[in-house]
């Protein structure tokens, strides 16, 4: 047994010459991956594929034989190539250790914080960030938490010296926590601890209304004295930013849609949407995408199907809604690396496997508004992709041999692999 481990270790070491944690250098030489099964990220698969990328961009994706390999050739027969997985709505790099307050930068005080920008607190050198890469998660939307309007997110790739270099799209969207349709009794004050209708729901929406109309008014005159929160809302009305509405209930979603349309918000996305499947038709008609709640979660209600969270994404896909997965919740940062297995779980509960791949690649890129750069294996897009020994949605075969971000061959080492090697070596003596 020990011998096997040593062999595995040697394999690892021989493949990864890059220094751990050090961001990879700019792509200098063209790379060709030959013979792999290419999962394009749009539902298609090319067996025996050839993928070529140069200067950080993909220049060819085709059946083997139809294009000539270029530069460094990686033989990947029997292996699988995927576009880098994308983790939307995450707090990667904003918190290092959950219980250590000093390492926590995810939530600002106040209610209306569109001017709060996650990107400047993003720690590109987080140990958690580097642990994403060995599982194929190569990009993420870094999102602040808390308040009614949490702030502004940005989209990053996960191999960078600093937040500036990491940015794929800065300030992509504003995150609104829709008022809850239900509230929980405060049992510690002697109230019934259950959930009841939120009596302040209408009042909370009207406060939001007020904020939005003031933001529009404030932005319509360049001469107005700057009000940072109002000013930060500008992108929602000129099409440059997306409004991400975090909302779960059927009623809340319908109200949020009416709200966004009333305020002429250009593009909106539902985040969470536990009950989105119940209003799938409306979502489709309004062309609204959903970043659906964590697949690996418990049903919200005792009476619900045990597999409700497993199949939510599928129900939306079936109804023609654009869906991607996200993983916010308990221990969301460390667990973001399990995103591929969440996609796999959706496939286990009825979704076609390639469509499941889309949930964390092409669909995510579309919803986040970065589909022109990333999300699928397509000519002209960033060469952010990886090679896996097998099916990357299954734990047993999600084994990365190479990964590239913008054409750069990144390290698959981490704090965790270092410790693994260190102690394996201790015991092999």
């Amino acid at each position: 047994m020990k011998n096997i481990i040593v062999i595995i270790l040697m394999l690892f070491v021989s493949i990864h010459i890059n220094a751990q944690q050090t961001p990879a250098d700019t792509q200098k030489e063209a790379v060709t991956i030959e013979g792999a099964t290419a999962h394009i990220g749009n539902g298609e698969v090319i067996e025996n594929s050839v993928i070529i990328f140069e200067n950080g961009k993909i220049t060819a994706v085709a059946k083997q034989g139809s294009v000539t390999p270029k530069g460094k050739v990686i033989k990947a027969i029997g292996k699988h190539v995927y576009p880098g997985f994308i983790a939307p709505n995450s707090t990667l790099g904003l918190v290092e250790i959950g219980a250590v307050r000093a390492s926590n930068d995810e939530e600002e005080i106040g209610s209306f914080n569109p001017h709060i920008r996650s990107i400047i607190a993003y720690n590109a050198e987080s140990k958690i960030v580097e642990s994403m890469r060995p599982n194929g998660v190569l990009m993420s939307q870094i999102t602040p938490r808390g308040g009614r309007i949490s702030g502004t997110s940005s989209i990053v790739q996960l191999d960078a010296w600093n937040w500036e270099d990491a940015t794929i799209k800065g300030d992509d969207g504003i995150h609104l926590n829709w008022p809850s349709t239900f509230t929980r009794g405060r049992w510690w004050l002697g109230e019934d601890p259950g959930y009841k209708a939120n009596k302040k729901y209408a009042e909370q929406i009207s406060k939001l209304d007020e904020f939005f109309v003031n933001a529009v008014a404030n932005n319509s005159d360049a001469a107005t004295i700057q009000n940072l929160p109002y000013h930060a809302m500008k992108g929602l009305f000129n099409g440059k930013q997306t409004l991400f509405v975090h909302v779960d209930t059927e009623k809340g979603i319908l109200d949020a849609i009416r709200f966004a349309s009333k305020h002429k918000v250009n593009k909106m996305v539902i985040v969470g949407g536990s009950e989105a499947y119940k209003v799938a038709k409306t979502l489709k008609e309004n062309n609204i995408g959903v970043l659906v709640n964590r697949t690996h979660s418990l049903p919200d209600f005792e009476d619900e199907d045990y597999d409700q969270p497993y199949k939510n994404a599928k129900l939306l896909v079936d109804a023609g809604v654009l869906v991607a997965l996200q993983n916010s919740g308990d221990m969301e940062r460390a667990n973001a690396r399990n995103l591929p297995f969440q996609a796999g779980t959706v496939a286990a509960h009825g979704l076609d496997k390639e469509k499941a791949v889309q949930l964390i690649t092409g669909n995510a890129a579309k919803i986040l508004g970065v589909a022109d750069q990333v999300g699928t294996l397509a000519v002209g897009k960033d060469a952010t992709l990886f090679i896996s020994e097998g099916d990357a949605l299954d734990m047993r075969t999600n084994l990365l041999s190479e990964a590239f971000i913008q054409g750069r061959a990144i390290s698959l080492e981490s704090h965790q692999t270092k410790l693994w090697k260190r102690y394996s070596k201790k015991y092999s003596k």
Partner: protein, 993 residues
């Protein structure tokens, strides 16, 4: 005041009515009433099921001196003829806090700031929540207003107490005699002893913080009282003395819910005490267990109002279980009766006492017979209180506590006229009101009207007609006077004629009339004919028994209509993961019979078993979760740094939907561990997930004994502001263990020496560890502390059984292997707190490679239903073989839990706890199709689909019923979703018990 009351209590004796005879009197002459009161010609219901027609009741000095048809009436009698009326014994409520102000707490979390660990009182028990010395009399103040309300509902006597604390002291038995003094109406100042699981509001002493802590505290209290009783204690303990003094009284336990009545009864059984159990009104859903307590129950009648489900979005909040409870709760008393469980009915939990009779009638409408209802209000409570001689019946020698009613007590149109308590009359409604209904010719100043009086005699209705025109009219009838008001023919004009007359025995009514212009004159209403009564048909309509939906086990969504039966099954052509030397066998048959695996091989013959084609499917032994917190009502007893005396077995919750969800993930056995709030936690419960069974049937037979220990940040309370409890560092944790084990060793030696010793449940548990009878599963993270605990164990010559979490196990895997401890870890959790900074997903692989028995656990209700995926991660992280990875969630946890002789592999002779998977069990794409425990199918993916449909249909039906109730104008409550707390190790407080 206190002193006066106490001395009164001392004087209480046989002299009730004359208690003040010997008191000096300075405001007049001594008056003694020695007359008799006689009620005759009544239907006397002496006791449930027995009645005397034309009966006479003789009362003297507050008591009944004779009852019957031919009794001698003393000459000095005041005789009252109650012809046609009924007399019933008045009611007794054995569980109230009448006249006691409810103690209020200071609020706030008991964990905040510097929690109080010690007791506030001196000379009493070490725990402030044990207050058996409380005498309710000290805080009693007779409540006239409340008494009137209760009298109106038929109560004559109530038992009251201070509802505060776990041992609550003694209660008072009080007659609701508003005109009397305490000396007369206090029937007992030590009527019963009361208990509950709830802490006292008067103290902020932290322990116990959980239901299981309350249970353990009760047990220890009983151990201590017998130690104290035998004279072994060196110090004075007024609480234990009181407890001893109270032991011959009735013992009443307010459990508050069905499942808590079982928990209380179990404590009682251990100490040979049969509590009277105050239930929750939900007993009907597991009636066999209720019966098995052999207890008399006190039932609340707080039947829930229908949920307001008119808004479909809000309706979605209400679970099937809650909807059912609305529908089924009123059957509760009837179900107990049907199953022969004795019970009394109480006003407990009713927001308004004056809705009590209506609730009793509802219970009758839902199937309770009237005789049992009466007994539950009279003879049963009298028996509970040991007062059958003088309460609960109408008989010679008993208190003259009775009701005079218009008719049969629980009839819809019955009226309680009078409630006599201790021979004193309390009028509820005037009796002997003349019925003036009828049709009259009303003549005023030459004008004739048609006057029609109808309805109840005490509240009549009126219609006045002038020719064919009906006039607006109103009638008032009270205290022997009737007044009528009616309008002019022209309704547009505000002109009124007013009539007023005294009602006399004459059939006609004559009196004064005041005409619209103010003229005063006389009127005569000449009686023409009587009114016809039209009640009969209406009554029948009302009595219709409502539709009651079926109870399931448990009584929530996905419950079983009946418990699954053991089946003999032959799985044909499966890929079988044996976990034995045979490894994974392809195209193999497995036969299960009588709950056991009986054959594994090719082409087995069914021998009468049901054949399941498993071609292309995988058969494995069931998943075992070494570290779970589902199906429990409490997880952490955080009140002390050691809580070895508590056990999760006391708080297993068999009705948790997470059991079903775990089954759907292929899980068949779990260990519910205590949390990690303290270095020495509580004992475990090891369960088979037999969905639908009651708690004691979930726990393994001859269950191995385990206890949770914990190390690191949680036990030193690093992550919340608490700075007063030892230990605050890892250094202190070691010494805490040294201290406890040293003491346990001394305890065990003393016990084994045969000398007298004070039984201490905490020390007993720790001694079991020293003696190798109980195993430790220790929550652990960093290598230093892991190493430390192994060294402590070695010093005391035992071995740690399992390190759970053990995220830095890989750093000391060689030492672990040498010590012989297993590791039960997370697949890939880390970074949530400082001590898991070095947690790596390769941990399982490294420990496994070093020869440690490795399991992957969940500590999480969600992850536990995907443990196959978590095991599969060991293939990715560290290259563990698939067969070994599979053992991480089956055979290895079985070994760690010492249940591998029964479960954990597919081997002839082992329990038939197996799972049929649609695919390779470690594949992300697989689903559990059938989960079987001891040959019983507890989860079946096809039946699950049917259940979903059934749930929808049943909810729809119940929603329609609730909408109907709302439309009928019945009260509703807002739709709501019950709180469901998901526990993990760090959950500090148990569910709001």
């Amino acid at each position: 005041m206190k002193k006066i009351l106490l001395s009164l209590a001392v004087f209480w004796g046989g002299y009730l009515a004359n208690a003040q005879e010997y008191f000096p009197k300075n405001d007049g002459v001594h008056t003694v009433n020695s007359n008799y009161t006689v009620l005759k010609n009544a239907v006397v219901h002496t006791t449930p099921g027995k009645k005397i027609k034309k009966g006479t009741v003789v009362i003297h000095k507050g008591k009944i001196t004779a009852v019957g048809t031919s009794v001698t009436i003393p000459k000095n009698s005041v005789v009252i003829d109650v012809e046609g009326k009924h007399i019933y014994p008045s009611f007794i409520d054995v569980y109230t806090s009448f006249g006691i102000e409810k103690p209020k707490g200071k609020g706030g979390s008991p964990f905040g700031g510097n929690p109080q660990y010690g007791a506030s009182r001196e000379g009493y028990y070490w725990n402030d929540h044990i207050r058996p010395e409380t005498n309710a009399l000290a805080s009693f103040k007779y409540d006239n207003k409340k008494a009137k309300e209760l009298l109106g509902q038929g109560f004559g006597v109530v038992n009251t107490h201070v509802p505060d604390g776990i041992a609550r002291g003694t209660g008072l038995l009080v007659a609701l005699n508003n005109e009397a003094k305490e000396s007369e109406r206090l029937l007992s100042d030590r009527s019963a002893q009361f208990f509950s699981f709830e802490k006292s509001k008067k103290s902020r002493q932290l322990y116990p913080t959980s239901l299981m802590g309350s249970i353990a505290l009760l047990r220890q209290m009983y151990h201590d009282v017998s130690w104290y009783e035998s004279g072994n204690a060196a110090t004075k303990d007024l609480a234990l003395e009181a407890l001893n003094r109270n032991k011959s009284l009735p013992q009443i336990f307010e459990a508050g819910s069905r499942i808590n009545t079982f928990r209380a009864d179990k404590v009682g059984d251990q100490f040979n005490i049969q509590y009277v159990l105050v239930g929750g009104g939900d007993e009907y859903a597991r009636i066999a267990n209720v019966k098995a307590t052999n207890a008399t129950y006190v039932l609340p009648l707080n039947f829930p109002d229908a949920y307001d489900v008119s808004d479909p979005y809000q309706a979605g909040l209400v679970s099937l279980g809650d909807m059912r409870h609305w529908n089924q709760a009123p059957t509760n008393p009837a179900v107990l009766k049907k199953n022969g469980v004795p019970f009394s009915l109480s006003t407990i939990k009713l927001k308004k006492a004056n809705s009590f009779l209506a609730k009793v009638k509802k219970a009758i409408q839902y199937g309770l017979d009237k005789e049992t209802a009466l007994a539950a209000l009279t003879t049963v409570p009298a028996k509970i209180l040991g007062r059958t001689k003088d309460l609960g019946e109408i008989k010679t020698g008993a208190y003259a506590n009775f009701l005079i009613t218009s008719g049969e007590l629980f009839a819809d149109d019955n009226i309680i006229y009078e409630n006599w308590v201790q021979g004193k009359k309390h009028t509820v409604k005037e009796m002997g009101i003349k019925d003036i209904s009828g049709i009259y010719d009303l003549a005023i100043e030459g004008t004739t009207y048609n006057l029609d009086i109808s309805g109840k005699s005490e509240a009549p209705k009126v219609a006045v007609k002038s020719g064919e025109i009906t006039l607006g009219s109103k009638i008032t009838y009270k205290e022997g006077w009737v007044s009528i008001l009616f309008t002019d023919k022209d309704a547009a004009i505000s002109k009124y004629t007013r009539l007023i007359a005294a009602v006399t025995p004459d059939k006609n009514i004559t009196g004064k009339a005041i005409l619209p212009d103010g003229t005063e004159t006389t009127f005569t209403a000449r009686f023409k004919e009587a009114k016809k009564k039209e009640k009969e048909t209406k009554k029948k309509d009302k009595k219709e028994t409502p539709e009651i939906v079926d109870v399931s086990y448990p009584n929530i969504a996905y419950g079983n209509e009946s418990l699954p039966k053991q089946e003999d099954i032959l799985f044909k052509n499966a890929t079988v993961w044996t976990n034995e030397a045979e490894g994974v066998l392809s195209t193999t048959d497995v036969l299960i019979k009588g709950g056991k695996i009986v054959a594994i091989g090719k082409n087995l013959s069914p021998r009468g078993a049901k054949v399941i084609d498993a071609t292309g499917k995988h058969l494995t032994s069931g998943i075992i979760d070494e570290h779970s917190h589902i199906a429990a009502a409490a997880i952490n007893e955080a009140g002390h740094n050691s809580s070895a005396e508590v056990t999760i077995e006391d708080v297993v919750s068999p009705d948790d939907i997470d059991i079903y969800r775990n089954l759907a993930g292929g899980v068949t056995s779990i260990q519910i561990l205590h949390g990690s709030a303290n270095p020495i936690g509580g004992r475990s419960a090891i369960l088979k997930l037999k969905w639908g069974e009651s708690a004691e049937h979930l726990i393994y037979d001859k269950t191995p004994k385990f206890i949770k220990f914990a190390l690191g940040e949680n036990v030193k309370q690093s992550n919340w502001p608490s700075y007063s409890r030892f230990p605050q560092t890892r250094m202190g944790v070691e010494q805490l263990y040294m201290d406890y084990f040293t003491r346990a060793k001394e305890y065990d030696q003393l016990k084994k020496s045969g000398k007298p010793y004070r039984r201490d449940d905490e020390m007993e548990t720790l001694a079991e560890i020293l003696n190798g009878e109980r195993f430790i599963s220790c929550h652990s993270y960093v290598q230093s502390e892991i190493n430390m605990l192994m060294k402590v164990a070695e010093k005391f010559d035992f071995r740690v059984n399992t390190f759970t979490h053990i995220l830095e196990g890989y750093k000391v895997a060689d030492k672990m292997a040498a010590h012989g401890v297993g590791g039960s870890t997370f697949s890939d959790w880390w970074a949530y707190k400082y001590e898991v900074n070095d947690a790596i997903p390769y941990n399982a692989a490294i420990m496994h490679n070093q020869g440690v028995t490795v399991a992957i656990n969940s500590d999480d209700a969600e992850m536990s239903r995907r443990l196959n995926q978590e095991a599969a991660k060991s293939v990715k992280y560290g290259g563990v073989s698939e067969e070994d990875a599979w053992k991480f969630v089956t055979l290895n946890p079985a070994k760690l839990l010492h249940i591998d002789d029964r479960v954990g592999s597919i081997k002839v002779g082992k329990d038939a706890d197996v799972v049929l998977w649609s695919d390779h069990p470690l594949s992300i794409y697989t689903k559990a199709e059938k989960t079987i425990i001891e040959g019983k199918v507890y989860f079946d993916i096809e039946k699950d689909i049917q259940k979903r449909k059934d749930i929808k249909a049943e909810k729809n039906k119940l929603i329609a019923m609730m909408l109907k109730a709302k439309n009928k104008g019945l009260k509703t409550q807002p739709a709501k979703k019950k709180e469901k707390q998901h526990f993990e190790c760090e959950t500090l407080e148990s569910v709001h018990q």
